[in-house]
Symmetry: C2
Subunit: 417 residues, 2 copies
């Protein structure tokens, strides 16, 4: 009961701060961002001290190296946070810009204008820099934000949230516009997901347990969940190009959602393509798991199980399957993919067009690596996440995706007939 | 248990039909619409016969005249349905159109393309024409649709759904793309709102009980709920213009969501404006309920209660309040409005700009009637509803609002650094 009351009180403060934040001037928002960047740079020592508490707790509870690594804030990462905030400052303010404008035959002018969404809740894990990134982006787009980081980074997050509060105050904005929830109780998330009247959107960033915790949320989610990306090497592919694309899609950063997890190869080119790609992948440290046809061609490949076709490895593992046609490739992706990023390598324009049209993914690639599914790579100038939703925003998100719109209608006394 | 299994099976049929519907050609979709319009015209007698069963049931159960009136299909309404379908046929197909297109420095071409949402469920009450309107619009936008009308119109709806099925089949489209749920059990709605994996969006059209039934829906809603619209007559208003706007906003169709329910008048013009607007409203049959200041000026006005300020009358009733400033007007609208449509009448540009910026409604009017909040009046060429959501779509919706988008990226072997 206390968790519920406290959480609602905290969210209520952000809600109350939202209307003024929605009409804050670009100058005030940019002042805040510059002050925040300055405060981060000036507080290096304190940030590292706060972070040390989290790191000690993680080590004591026996967390592994990768976990501790993600949790660590050092000089370089602190500088990257400050620089990221200044990058957001440099972005155009989306609020108040006209999306469309037209005049009706009766003289009524209609303007569709970007406005903030309202209160956005960010629920995230591990990396404490998300506290700063998320606040910078949501506030620049004129929203109030409720920040709920993982308990493993509580000390770091709380310190950074303090810097955000101070910077808001110094820019004469309401510090409640960024409300940090300190209570690590999982019940907090349950309260948030029921708070339809206080929160307009929840952006979750985390793993399966967070996904499960948010199941049945009454508040709309803009999730950033799994990426089971495919690359299909067509019979008409330039195989040299296909090799480079596949290696990049699998190996350049295997732990992220836009990396390739499944390779589909047309039977007509399998004998030529598979031995060489398997050799290069293996040399790069990738474990290959293949279907029967693949193993017939490259017998050293380990057999894939049924689970492999639906797995998201986020690791140096790749499942490989030989298909008989583009139809089979498209059907396989529809059944086993996550609709995030899927690629075809082909020199045939008609086949490419079919793939573009029929593969229902947020980002569909022809002759390029799936690793470009990213706000920076799209040229959005910011990393606000990659939506796996179909509604409101899909795929890489920029500042615009943190806004909604309203219509302003200007008349001279028009009435409806 | 049977309700659940049957409902899931029905929705599952629409889901299975969705991928082919998403890539159906414009020609096939238009063939379907023309065939449907033809079938409606040819089936007048049968439609009226099917409708007669609903009307008889309604009369037997003692439903009032307005209810029976809404339920009635006559020659004129049947022709209006057919004409509406042909209007949808004439609209441009949104699917496949490019929203944006740009090229990255590495030569990667990025195109943002409109695609269907997938499976849309329509839950509606009373008016059987919604079966036809909703199917025409959602299918033209390439979606599969699950239709769930009210039990009071079951016979009419089922007959019309049969015509839709036949027209789909005749146009060589899968009839499951429009799946009508016949079972009147309220549990059907509970199953629908849990079916996150089968339904991409629910569009509800109905009253408070439908709103309550959908509370906590795991499927995103695009609701069309209350409209508590305000008109604020500023101290700098042209009072003659204000009178015409208010009369139109209140009286032209009091039963709809974009009609005015509350009138706010600046104290500086209250003595001049109120006697005449009250007289004209009263003459038009409107019951006025006023605050103390209003009643001081026009003593015949009945006293408003606290409930009046939050009421949605949908009737010839108007609550009137005198305010001291634009600030008070904006704060009142924020507190008591429904963020759908609110208007100011003023000749002062600065005051108008403040109202535009600070009133957080889907449609904000300066010197015009709130009654223009409507897809046809916006020039969208169709009536797909008026969203009271903040996300995905806000305010009047056209065909575009029944779509989402994907990015197609065309390369020549690009890999990420």
């Amino acid at each position: 009961m206390t968790v519920e009351a406290d959480t609602i009180a905290a969210i209520g403060r952000a809600r109350a701060a939202a209307p003024a934040m929605a009409i804050a001037t670009t100058r005030a928002k940019n002042d805040f961002l510059r002050m925040l960047a300055g405060a981060i740079r000036e507080s290096r020592a304190e940030i590292i001290r706060a972070n040390a508490l989290d790191l000690e707790r993680a080590r004591k509870s026996g967390r592994g190296g990768a976990f501790v690594e993600r949790l660590t804030l050092d000089d370089k990462r602190i500088e990257a946070m400050a620089a990221g905030v200044l990058q957001v400052e440099a972005l155009d303010d989306p609020v108040g810009t006209a999306i469309e404008k037209w005049t009706r035959p009766n003289g009524l002018e209609i303007e569709k204008i970007r406005v903030p969404i309202g209160v956005i809740a960010m629920i995230y894990e591990s990396r404490p820099n998300v506290t700063v990134d998320a606040a910078a982006l949501t506030l620049k787009a004129g929203n109030a934000v409720v920040l709920r980081g993982g308990s493993e980074a509580l000390s770091s997050n709380a310190f950074l949230a303090g810097l955000i509060s101070h910077a808001l105050k110094n820019a004469r904005l309401n510090p409640d516009a960024a409300t940090f929830i300190r209570d690590p109780d999982r019940e907090v998330i349950q309260v948030m997901k029921r708070s339809r009247d206080l929160i307009d959107m929840i952006i979750p960033r985390g793993g399966q347990s967070l996904k499960n915790a948010l199941d049945g949320s009454a508040v709309p989610l803009l999730p950033h969940f799994d990426g089971k990306c495919h690359t299909y090497v067509d019979r008409a592919a330039n195989l040299k190009m296909a090799e480079e694309i596949c290696l990049n899609a699998k190996c350049s950063r295997p732990s992220v959602c836009n990396s390739m997890e499944k390779l589909l190869v047309h039977r007509a080119v399998a004998e030529k393509f598979l031995p060489s790609i398997v050799a290069r992948m293996t040399a790069a440290g990738v474990e290959i798991r293949g279907d029967d046809a693949t193993r017939k061609i490259v017998p050293t490949v380990r057999a894939a199980t049924d689970e492999d076709w639906d797995a998201e490895y986020l690791d140096l593992i790749l499942a490989v399957k030989v298909v008989d046609s583009i139809d089979e490739a498209i059907a396989f992706i529809a059944r086993h993919g996550s609709h995030l990023a899927d690629a075809i390598v082909t020199g045939d324009a008609e086949t490419a067009a079919r793939f573009e049209r029929e593969v229902d993914s947020a980002t569909v690639y022809v002759n390029a690596s799936t690793r470009f599914t990213d706000g920076f790579e799209f040229g959005f100038g910011a990393e606000t996440g990659i939506s796996t939703n179909r509604l409101h925003a899909r795929g890489p998100m920029g500042l615009n995706e943190l806004t909604t719109y309203k219509y302003v209608l200007r008349g001279t006394g028009q009435v409806r007939a």
